[in-house]
């Protein structure tokens, strides 16, 4: 087992370094875009809703609220939506025997995870320096939810890669399904503001749980009675199990042209 694990580690590292070079290589400011993209995103939302939201959610400062919504969601989106055509885009790589299809998604999750986490921490630090009071007494919980979100994204990414390969039509359909998730996950409004009958529907979405839990972990006064870590955990484990099973079943077909 040991040499196999070592091979996976080496392969994922090689893919990780390669993705890092290709992801921002074509833009002029390179890696700076990791920071600029979410920053622009948050600024626009702040400009649009800053004043209203400041009054509607007194329990959490709105910039911090947005940071905890936008950053994790963008990270999730990057992993999942680019996994759909991962096989097509990397067909050449699979000619090297050590590279397995699952390594592509592993490397992507790792890269987006590292970028997303670094940017999140950096912006959090900026907020703290700007005088924002950030309590870190719930740090273990925050890390836990963050990792769970990454594992959830990985599982869904793996599933989408397999679906994209088995049914090419899904490359048209699935992006249409991902887009509304932005609104359904409460990236820019708290679920507590949604009227009860509709809130129950939104709570089906595990992603909404993840975002609310991350907010609650940073600001304890932010209400999180309606969301549950166990729900997110169950979803993640179930999805992971199912995608790995699907992957096992499709292992031969993935290599067959």
């Amino acid at each position: 087992m040991k040499p196999q694990l070592d091979l996976i580690r080496r392969t994922v590292l090689a893919l990780f370094l390669r993705e890092m070079k290709t992801r921002f290589g074509k833009y002029r400011l390179g890696y700076l875009w990791c920071l600029l993209e979410p920053l622009a995103h948050i600024s626009i939302l702040l400009l649009l809703f800053g004043y209203i939201m400041h009054r509607s959610i007194p329990s959490i400062p709105f910039p911090l609220f947005l940071l905890c919504g936008v950053l994790p969601f963008l990270m999730f989106n990057q992993i999942v939506s680019r996994s759909l055509n991962a096989l097509d885009a990397n067909q050449g790589l699979l000619s090297y025997r050590p590279v397995q299809a699952i390594d592509l998604i592993l490397a992507r999750t790792l890269l987006e995870g590292v970028i997303g986490t670094a940017v999140f921490l950096l912006l959090l630090l900026c907020l703290a320096l700007a005088g924002q009071n950030i309590a870190l007494d719930q740090l273990p919980a925050l890390c836990g939810y963050w990792l769970l979100l990454l594992l959830f994204s990985f599982s869904l990414g793996l599933l989408f890669m397999l679906l994209g390969h088995a049914y090419p039509e899904s490359e048209k359909l699935i992006p249409l399904l991902i887009k509304p998730l932005y609104f359904l996950s409460g990236v820019m409004f708290p679920l507590a503001l949604v009227p009860a009958p509709y809130q129950a529907y939104l709570l089906w979405n595990p992603l909404a749980h993840a975002l609310e839990l991350i907010r609650h972990a940073l600001v304890t006064s932010y209400p999180a009675d309606h969301v549950h870590g166990s729900y997110l955990l169950l979803w993640t484990l179930g999805l992971l199990f199912f995608s790995l099973l699907f992957y096992k079943g499709r292992a031969n077909a993935l290599r067959r042209s």
Binding site: R10, L13, L17, R18, K21, S95, R97, R255, S257
Partner: protein, 220 residues
């Protein structure tokens, strides 16, 4: 030794299933380099991809206890926006230990003789330069079998001479499976032949016999 057991391979096409191999059973003995003969579209590259493990048969299997390279062709696995060096580094990370990385990159850089192009994006390469990089890259690692898909055909005379010398040297320990339309070259490097055509896959234990058969059947 590479053994094909009940190997079947077909492709789905709009005009129905196209069969390349039906129930192929044969064995390439150890220590023999193979000339793979056949016309364009006969399935030579597919066979190399099957042997290299990047494609799977419909039924049956390919059994070997040797290490086998990836199919070395013009278009495999390179990323156009990355430089030659970065592409080489990537593959070296897959196949070599971290401490060997620099040595492998150095070998390819020296062998391919791309000069400043080694640090330029791969999409600016000519096909000759691509083949130099691809061939040099595969030679940086020790495999029991190297799969070469018309890779030496596009290089210039200097490169061909250089690669011929390297192949001869490697043949003391490793074997080659060659796809080439240059009979001289095949005679020089290969011991046995596989002939692939509409009659299926046939094995000849002498490369000259295989070439003679191929020439007779195709009137060349």
């Amino acid at each position: 030794m590479i053994r094909f057991e009940n190997l079947c391979k077909s492709y789905k096409t709009p005009a129905g299933r196209h069969y390349l191999f039906r129930q192929v059973n044969l064995e390439i003995p150890s220590g023999k380099s193979v000339a793979l003969l056949g016309r364009n579209g006969a399935g030579k590259s597919t066979l190399l991809r099957l042997i290299g493990g990047m494609d799977r048969p419909d039924h049956g299997r390919i059994h070997s206890n040797k290490s086998i390279s990836w199919p070395v062709g013009l278009s495999t696995g390179f990323q156009g926006s990355m430089s030659g060096r970065e592409n080489v580094k990537f593959v070296a990370r897959l196949y070599a230990k971290p401490h060997e990385l620099a040595a492998k990159v150095g070998f390819v850089e020296e062998f391919a003789e791309l000069g400043r192009y080694f640090d330029m994006p791969l999409k600016s390469y000519s096909s000759g330069m691509r083949s130099r990089l691809g061939f040099g890259l595969s030679m940086a690692f020790d495999f029991d079998y190297y799969l070469l898909d018309e890779i030496t055909a596009v290089g210039d005379a200097v490169f061909r001479q250089k690669s011929a010398a390297l192949i001869q040297q490697r043949r003391q320990h490793s074997q080659f499976i060659f796809v080439s339309h240059n009979f001289e070259q095949l005679r020089q490097f290969c011991d046995v032949a596989l002939l692939l055509d509409s009659q299926g896959l046939r094995y000849f234990d002498d490369v000259d016999l295989g070439i003679a058969q191929y020439r007779a059947e195709n009137h060349v």
